[in-house]
C-alpha cells in the first residue's frame, strides 16, 4: 500500500475533511475557553500587586502568542505554496491571515486596557507593544496585497513572497525594537520581573492558550472551506455540491491536484 502524501492537498479532498474536523476543534475551543475562564476568573487568586486587573492576561497572552505564531504558520504555508505550487497551501495562508490580524489587534487592545490601571497609561513604546503593532501592519499589508491583485494565482505567489520576506524580518524587527527601547529610556517595565505566578494562574493561561489554538484552527478551516468553494466554483465537484447531486464524481475530480 502506498501512501499518497499529497492526497489532501487537492481542495476537492480537503473540503470534506475540513468539514469533519471543524466540529471537533470548535467544540474543544468552547470547552477549553469555559474551563480556562472559570479557573482564571473564579479559582485563581487576586494578584498581590496588580489586583484584579491582571486577569486580562488570560486573554492577552494567548492572543499575543497566536498573533506571532500565526504569522510563522502563515509564512510556512506561503513557502509551501511557492515551492510545490499547490493551491491549497495558498488558500490556507489566505484563510489564516484575518485570524492572525484579529489576534494581533486583540492583544494590543487588551494590552492597552491592562496597561491603563497597571502602568497608568494606555500605550508605552515598549519593545513588545511596538513589535506587535508592526506585526499587525505586516498582516494588513499581506491582506491588502492579496486584495489588490485580481488573478488568484498571481495574488497567491505575490503575497507568499511578501509573507516570507516579512517572516525573515520579524525577529530583526523584534530585536531592533528591543535595543532601540533599551537605548532610549532603559527597561522601566519588564514583564519578566513580575512575581512568580501561582499555579492556578499558569494553569488558566495554558488552558486559554490551547483554547486560542483550537479556535484559530476551527475558524481557519471554516474560512478555507469558503475560499475553496469560491475559487473552485468552476469545477464539477463544487457544482455537484451546489446542486445537491451525489458526490460520485469526487474521486475523478480529486486527482487533478495542483494548477
Amino acid at each position: 500500500m502506498t501512501i499518497s502524501w499529497f492526497k489532501y492537498s487537492a481542495p476537492a479532498n480537503f473540503y470534506p475533511l475540513a468539514g469533519r474536523m471543524i466540529p471537533w476543534f470548535a467544540g474543544a475551543a468552547v470547552l477549553l475557553t469555559v474551563i480556562g475562564m472559570y479557573i482564571g476568573f473564579v479559582v485563581a487568586p487576586t494578584d498581590a500587586t496588580q489586583g484584579e486587573a491582571y486577569r486580562i492576561i488570560f486573554i492577552h497572552v494567548p492572543t499575543a502568542w497566536m498573533a506571532m505564531f500565526g504569522y510563522c504558520v502563515m509564512a510556512g504555508w506561503c513557502a509551501a505554496s511557492l515551492i510545490w505550487n499547490t493551491r491549497l497551501s495558498a488558500m490556507m495562508a489566505q484563510a489564516l491571515a484575518p485570524t492572525g490580524a484579529m489576534f494581533a489587534f486583540v492583544s494590543l487592545w487588551t494590552g492597552a486596557f491592562w496597561g491603563r490601571p497597571t502602568w497608568g497609561t494606555y500605550w508605552v513604546w515598549d519593545a513588545r507593544l511596538t513589535s506587535t503593532l508592526i506585526l499587525l501592519f505586516l498582516y494588513l499589508g499581506y491582506m491588502a496585497l492579496r486584495a489588490a491583485i485580481d488573478e488568484p494565482r498571481r495574488a497567491d505567489r505575490a503575497s507568499a513572497l511578501l509573507a516570507i520576506v516579512g517572516v525573515i524580518n520579524v525577529p530583526i524587527i523584534y530585536f531592533s525594537v528591543k535595543w532601540w527601547n533599551t537605548l532610549h529610556q532603559g527597561a522601566t517595565i519588564s514583564a519578566t520581573a513580575a512575581p512568580k505566578m501561582a499555579h492556578t494562574m499558569l494553569a488558566a493561561m495554558l488552558v486559554m492558550i490551547f483554547a486560542a489554538w483550537f479556535y484559530a484552527i476551527a475558524v481557519t478551516l471554516h474560512r478555507v472551506r469558503s475560499i475553496i468553494l469560491e475559487r473552485e466554483a468552476h469545477t464539477d465537484w463544487v457544482r455537484a455540491l451546489a446542486t445537491g447531486a451525489p458526490a460520485g464524481q469526487a474521486g475523478r475530480v480529486g486527482t487533478e491536484a495542483s494548477r
Binding site: L138, L145, A148, L162, I173
Partner: protein
C-alpha cells in the same frame, strides 16, 4: 508624462540596439548585465532631471516642516534631527519607488528584460543600483545640510551621513521588492507604503540610533555594523527576491 514621451523614443532605440547585440551573441554575463541595466536607467534619469530635483526638494521640504510643526527650540531640534532626517529619507525614497518598475512595466520594457538572455537578478540589481544613485545618494549628500540646519555636532553629522550611506541601499532593495509585487495593481502607492514601511523599521532604528549614540558619547560602531550587515544581506538576497517578484508579475 509628456516629457517621458519625448525621451522615451531614443531610450527605446538604445534598448533595441542593445537587445540586438545581445541576441547576436550568447547569454550575457552578470557584471555586464548589471552595468547595462544601470547605465540605461541612469541615462533615462538624466533625461528627466526635473523629477530628480523634485525628490531632493521634497526631502528638504519635509525636513523644514518639522521645526515649524514642533518648535524652533535648538536643543530639542538637535535631539530629534537624526530621526527627522531618516523619516524624510524614508518618505522620499517611497515617493520615487513607483518609478523603479512601473514605467518600464507600462511600455513593455520590463517584459523584454524578463525574456532577455541575461540573468534577471543582475538586470534588477543594475536597476536598483541606478535608482539608489539617483534617489538615495542625493539624500546622503544633503544630510549634512539638514544636520547643520538643526544644529547637530560635527561628528554626529558625519555619523548620520555614514548611516544614511549604509542604510539607504537597503531601503532601495526593500522598496524594489514592494514595487515589483505591486506592479499593475489598483491600490498603488498607499499599498506600497503599507508593504515597505513596516519592513524598514530596523533600518530606521539603527540609522537614527547611530548619530544619537554618538551625541551621548557611546560609539556608533554597533549601529553602523548592523546597518552594514543589512546592506550585505540586502545585496545578497535582494536581487533574487526582486527578480522573483518581477516574474510573478508576468505570470
Amino acid at each position: 508624462m509628456n516629457e517621458r514621451a519625448t525621451f522615451a523614443a531614443p531610450a527605446a532605440s538604445a534598448t533595441a540596439s542593445d537587445a540586438d547585440a545581445v541576441q547576436g551573441g550568447e547569454t550575457v554575463g552578470v557584471l555586464q548585465a548589471v552595468r547595462w541595466a544601470c547605465a540605461r536607467d541612469l541615462l533615462l534619469a538624466l533625461r528627466s532631471r526635473a523629477e530628480l530635483a523634485l525628490i531632493v526638494v521634497f526631502f528638504v521640504l519635509v525636513v523644514s516642516l518639522f521645526p515649524l510643526g514642533v518648535s524652533p527650540e535648538p536643543q530639542l531640534l538637535q535631539r530629534i534631527a537624526p530621526g527627522i532626517a531618516w523619516v524624510a529619507a524614508l518618505l522620499a525614497s517611497l515617493l520615487s519607488l513607483p518609478r523603479l518598475f512601473a514605467l518600464d512595466h507600462a511600455d513593455g520594457t520590463l517584459e523584454q528584460l524578463v525574456l532577455a538572455p541575461a540573468p534577471l537578478p543582475a538586470l534588477v540589481a543594475g536597476k536598483v543600483l541606478a535608482h539608489w544613485l539617483t534617489n538615495g545618494l542625493p539624500l546622503v549628500l544633503l544630510a549634512p545640510v539638514a544636520g547643520i540646519q538643526f544644529g547637530m555636532e560635527t561628528d554626529a553629522i558625519a555619523t548620520l551621513t555614514l548611516a544614511l550611506l549604509l542604510g539607504t541601499p537597503t531601503l532601495s532593495w526593500l522598496g524594489a521588492v514592494g514595487a515589483a509585487l505591486t506592479l499593475g495593481t489598483r491600490a498603488g502607492s498607499a499599498l506600497l507604503a503599507l508593504l515597505v514601511l513596516p519592513l524598514a523599521v530596523p533600518i530606521l532604528i539603527f540609522g537614527a540610533g547611530a548619530p544619537e549614540s554618538v551625541a551621548v558619547g557611546l560609539g556608533a560602531q554597533a549601529h553602523l555594523s548592523l546597518l552594514g550587515a543589512g546592506l550585505i544581506a540586502s545585496w545578497v538576497f535582494g536581487p533574487f527576491a526582486t527578480a522573483l517578484a518581477v516574474r510573478i508579475a508576468y505570470e
